[in-house]
Symmetry: C2
Subunit: 413 residues, 2 copies
């Protein structure tokens, strides 16, 4: 039975994590929030107090922390008595925070793959470049480390595992589709850290098809999907974390990721990319200042957290799974629909932050209860999906199924 | 009789100025080129030697100079014995270089209005903010300072004066049109310093109409012009230096400036502007680095000088002048057509640099001969246009006239 949560990061997702931990403080215990900018942590603490999100009276504290500093992170884990670390900070700090958890014997979780600032889209499977290199040590030391437990990656991995367990004898195709049909009213903004957002799209698009890694360029392969609630939407094959673990865990099925983009996003992206403004490599100004263009683009774009108040509309994210059941071909769409305004009203964040921030709290609750305290490193599809989806069903991200029998909530009877 | 030229700056325009000074070294004497980066000056020296541009054997030397340092500039003027300074450096150094010229008693010229790095589009007339504040002192000390003597501003001001002197009794409208129908083959590039290029378009568009300053937004007012050689082209009313002196010197005529833009330029510009990437105000990255977005955009764009080798096509720049002559309404188009490839073959620069760099050399020759050694500050339309256009006719920028009598070269018989 582990408890007391240390949240690393203080962006829009961290805000959701803090609120959801507070709403389940009877299970999770104390809540500590740490990031480079302690003021941002304090604002989250204030927001939790304002909305009276704490279910039971526990410690709720803000801390300044450079999460690249392993010793400082270990010290904070120890001094706060945290046994569960939810890392929703920058993707650059994953390996440092994981190290701190392994050294202090506490559970680790993140929602996106580790990245090094100056590299993009390394050799697939991406998890093999950093995280999985620590798998043997985690197993040996009995460290629970759950990788990529946001929505995508995360819940969509659980959907794939659910399909494998319950709906198919053999799966041939997993197509993960992520559509944000919301409108933030700004000229242009990304829904999470622009640096990470653009880095996803500037490199090679990897998909797992016919038992091998296939490569495409971004926006090279487009497809229209007809989805519940949000309707017909154009999406493009995109590189994404979950493809890199599902490629290993879906018994050879093709795994592709599709993200919805409007023409306006593509135009802005294309202009910035062609000009070299999305580059992670430093350039030198005429005045001799070394600067990474992508970091300047991030600096001028709206803070994703600032989009929340005016955000309208819904997201639809899910897995189209094809394969055989009882000798017959079938297709199932397992999905969630979330609402931007509802998310804002509940936790002060927009829908994309909400879908990314609620799942690690569900996972933390399963670590607290022992059900997911795996004492090894795991991607989400390697863990039993039902308990996870059951909690999500209760805390804000219900699962629905659409197949030849219609469109209905996932049943937990 | 002044001679020996100091060129400030080492970009594409400086390259043209150096070559043209060399081709007229019998009149102009020694040639010194100075900029922050002495290597760029050395490359220009090499290029002049390679193309054997020197008409007579004179000194041709490169110097390192921070032109914001008035004392260093004065020292260089004195040590090189330069009596004519052609400032084609950054628009930020105008006032420092002018000061150095006034203190050493030598002639000053530039091709663009002074700008302060952190301000855009100040109160009209722009010349009143900086340059004209030195006019009384120039007159008192007998300093020749010719402002804005590139093509536009510069030659187009002489065209306006020519129209006033020879083609009209009363002028009602001066519409200056600048069309670059060339193609550099890159995704996107500006034809001169991107920082200055974009700064022209991010602020208010000032025009002089009905005896007052009128304001518009960039790309708000568009118009199709049908021009010799380059044909029908879409242009937009744009803020530009020459409007700010012609407003004073054209006896109350309306003065507008129009620049040609393709849809692609407008799209890239619109994306960058709306994102805030054209801002001259510093932003702070997440890592705490202070940086001016526009300087980063400049750093990622192609160096305008690098466009020269592959540049194809022509430019057409001129003045549509309307008014009354002998009681009748008439319209005259006074213009020049330049060719990118021809410019490259002659002086190693593209056409836009060529049209900007040849006029100050013609002006320098008129200062050397005494005809334009005005011993006061002057905008180009305040000086006799015929000698200037006569030299330009001979050294690469011939003037043509189109009116009800047809389309013909300006006659100098």
């Amino acid at each position: 039975m582990k408890k007391n949560v240390l949240i690393i990061g203080a962006g829009g997702v961290a805000q959701v994590v803090a609120h959801k931990c507070a709403q389940n403080s009877d299970v999770l215990g104390d809540i500590h929030i740490a990031s480079r900018t302690v003021d941002k942590c304090r604002k989250i603490v204030e927001s939790v107090r304002e909305k009276k999100s704490l279910k039971t009276e526990v410690k709720l504290e803000a801390h300044a922390l450079d999460a690249l500093d392993v010793e400082a992170t270990k010290a904070l884990i120890v001094s706060t008595g945290s046994q569960i670390v939810i890392n929703v900070g920058s993707a650059f700090v994953n390996m440092s925070v994981l190290r701190a958890c392994m050294d202090t014997g506490v559970a680790y979780m993140d929602t996106a793959i580790h990245e090094e600032p100056n590299k993009i889209c390394e050799t697939p499977p991406w998890y093999g470049n950093y995280e999985w290199k620590r798998a043997a040590e985690c197993k040996e030391k009995g460290i629970t480390a759950i990788l990529g437990v946001g929505f995508d990656p995360g819940v969509v991995n659980a959907y794939a595992r659910l399909a494998k367990d319950e709906y198919f004898d053999k799966i041939t195709d997993v197509d993960i589709v992520d559509i944000n049909a919301g409108n933030h009213g700004k000229y242009f903004a990304t829904n999470f850290d622009p640096e990470i957002n653009f880095r996803e799209f500037t490199g090679v698009v990897y998909s797992w098809q016919k038992g091998a890694w296939q490569t495409n360029r971004m926006f090279e392969v487009g497809k229209e999907f007809d989805l519940p609630v949000v309707g017909k939407r154009q999406a493009y094959m995109t590189g994404h974390d979950e493809v890199h673990s599902l490629s290993k865990n879906m018994d050879g099925a093709d795994v592709r990721f599709w993200m919805g983009f409007g023409d306006h996003y593509i135009n802005v992206f294309t202009v910035l990319k062609n000009l070299g403004l999305l580059s992670e490599q430093p350039v030198k100004t005429a005045e001799g200042l070394e600067v990474v263009p992508l970091k300047v683009v991030k600096a001028v774009l709206p803070d994703p957290a600032s989009l929340a108040p005016g955000y309208e509309g819904k997201t639809c994210i899910g897995d189209f799974v094809k394969g055989l059941k009882d000798g017959r071909e079938r297709e199932v769409f397992i999905y969630n629909v979330a609402d931007h305004r509802q998310a804002y009203e509940e936790v002060g964040s927009q829908g994309i932050s909400y879908t990314a921030g609620v799942p690690p709290v569900a996972a933390a609750m399963l670590i607290a209860s022992g059900e997911w305290d795996a004492r090894q490193m795991a991607n989400v599809e390697e863990l039993p999906p039902r308990p996870f989806l059951d909690i999500l069903n209760r805390i804000g991200l219900p699962t629905r199924i659409k197949d030849e029998q219609g469109d209905r909530p996932l049943s937990f009877s």
